[in-house]
């Protein structure tokens, strides 16, 4: 009776043949009642054709009086075509939206990394509205790993309303345990030493002396000599200790940097076209209200979200509007003044990024105009640290055989 049953009315004087037929055929039926001159019987839909055929063979004329069970539901459903239409539309929409990227979740707090991942995804066609079965998530994972060095591991998984990108950021590995390992302080700039704060190591250059790149300013190899006089003469014992040079060596130095700006350059220019994209947000799903993502280059002007609130509680459905401004990369021929202005901007950015740790004492700019470009040569006079640590290796044959004595030496040097 899974598909429902049909109620039959059979009229006649004697129903003995009908009873025999029902037992012989093994038909499934229910609620068989004999009233005055007629029998009412409900036969399962699977058996109704067989039942009718057998009844006709036995000389009865069964009449359908009604339907029961799920058949009644089907019959009622046909009287309301809107429900059928709505169900079909819903099924189609569910089928479509479950295979389309509506939302891209990137699991990282680093906004720069998130933007970088978004750009790569866009380049590879992973945008809102893209058909997921046509996209290869494994290949995209590899592409992201190749293009983004800041991420140690990237995994893409399909979620209900789109894709989720899990990121493990690359954390710079610690250099390891190097306290106690011997090292020199080596000059990293050509300059003059003006200040020394030395905690350990042997100073090789004094204040006021000039150094060039690679010179050892503080040595991690300390050689001490003791002489004793006896009847045989002078006995000199030389003792070598290897220490980690700790200290700060500051000095003045100059650095010259050239900034070149060609006259023919590409500039970002707004075309004046604005486009508004509308989305409907239902829980975590962001359903686009447009069929096609606009072509071209766009930058976001603003993003507006309207979510209704009841008593301060934000409801999980609303509307999002994103306003985009179209821009174009146009080739532009700069004049001399504009080119120098851009070169100066580059110099400013360089100072902000690379010279923040130094004290800028003086700056000289020299402008040069070539055939296709302008060149700005800036000479910086700086004051700051001019040495950096440089580990060195001790050949095995120099090391004392007794390890304890070596450890003791190193320990002593740290305590000094």
């Amino acid at each position: 009776m899974t598909l429902g049953s049909i109620e039959y009315v059979i009229t006649g004087d004697s129903f003995a043949k009908l009873f025999r037929m029902l037992t012989r055929e093994g038909l499934v039926y229910s609620d068989m009642k004999q009233l005055s001159g007629e029998i009412r019987i409900c036969v399962s839909l699977e058996y109704c054709l067989r039942f009718e055929r057998c009844c006709k063979a036995a000389g009865y004329q069964p009449k359908r009086a009604g339907v029961r069970g799920i058949l009644r539901f089907y019959k009622k459903l046909t009287e309301h075509p809107g429900i059928i239409f709505g169900t079909i539309i819903s099924a189609l929409l569910i089928g479509y939206y479950s295979n389309v990227i509506l939302r891209i979740d990137i699991d990282t707090a680093d906004t720069a990394l998130r933007d970088r991942i978004t750009d790569v995804l866009k380049e590879d066609g992973f945008t809102a509205g893209a058909y997921i079965p046509e996209l290869d998530l494994v290949l995209e994972e590899r592409s992201l790993k190749q293009k983004i060095d800041e991420a140690a591991w990237i995994g893409i998984s399909r979620t209900g309303a789109g894709i989720s990108v899990d990121v493990i950021e690359a954390v710079e590995a610690e250099k390891g345990f190097n306290v106690g390992m011997p090292c020199h302080l080596v000059a990293c700039e050509d300059g003059v030493i003006e200040e020394v704060e030395l905690l350990d190591g042997q100073l090789m250059k004094c204040i006021g002396s000039g150094v060039t790149k690679g010179d050892i300013v503080v040595s991690g190899k300390i050689v001490s000599e003791n002489s004793k006089w006896s009847a045989d003469g002078e006995h000199v014992t030389r003792k070598t200790r290897y220490v980690r040079s700790i200290g700060k060596v500051r000095g003045s130095f100059t650095r010259t940097v050239e900034f070149e700006q060609p006259f023919d350059t590409e500039l970002k220019a707004l075309t004046g076209t604005e486009k508004k994209l509308h989305f409907i947000n239902i829980f975590s799903a962001q359903i686009p209200m447009f069929a096609k993502v606009p072509d071209g280059w766009y930058e976001t002007e603003y993003e507006k979200q309207d979510f209704p609130e009841i008593g301060g509680f934000r409801l999980p459905f609303g509307h999002t509007e994103i306003c985009l401004r179209e821009f174009d990369m146009r080739s532009q021929l700069l004049d001399e003044e504009e080119a120098f202005a851009l070169a100066e901007k580059s110099a400013y950015r360089y100072e902000q990024n690379f010279l923040k740790n130094y004290e800028l004492k003086n700056k000289n700019c020299r402008k040069e105009v070539n055939k296709d470009s302008v060149r700005l040569t800036v000479t910086y006079e700086l004051y700051g640290e001019i040495c950096k640590e440089s580990d060195f290796f001790i050949p095995a044959y120099i090391l004392p055989t007794d390890e304890n004595s070596q450890e003791k030496n190193v320990q002593d040097s740290e305590n000094n």
């Binding site: 025999r20 029902l22 499934v28 609620d31 068989m32 009642k33 004999q34």
Partner: protein, 99 residues
């Protein structure tokens, strides 16, 4: 009703082959009869079924019959009386009536 012998060969065989009729009655609302051979009558007050060795009569009101498996029928309604008549006795009564 004839006297049932203590050891009956046919009775034991029927029992071993599960050919006996099994009747399960739930209160006075339904009765399930297994190994039903034939339906003799099915009215609102009386349902008469034939099994291997008995004729079973259900008397009551609003009775109806359902069958969900071969040889198994269910009587539903308000059952007031259940009567079992041995088919041998029935045949003898009918034969004597004829003569």
């Amino acid at each position: 009703m004839g006297k049932t012998p203590d050891i009956s060969f046919f009775g034991k065989t029927r029992e071993l082959l599960c050919l006996s009729s099994y009747i399960k009655i739930v209160d006075n609302s339904s009765a399930l009869v297994e190994n039903c051979r034939q339906i003799s009558e099915c009215t609102e007050v009386c349902v008469r079924l034939l099994t291997g060795s008995f004729e079973i009569e259900f008397w009551g009101s609003g009775l109806s019959l359902s069958s969900y498996a071969e040889g198994c029928v269910e009587v539903r309604g308000l059952i007031e009386q259940v009567r079992l008549v041995s088919r041998g006795v029935r045949r003898r009564d009918n034969d004597s009536g004829k003569h």
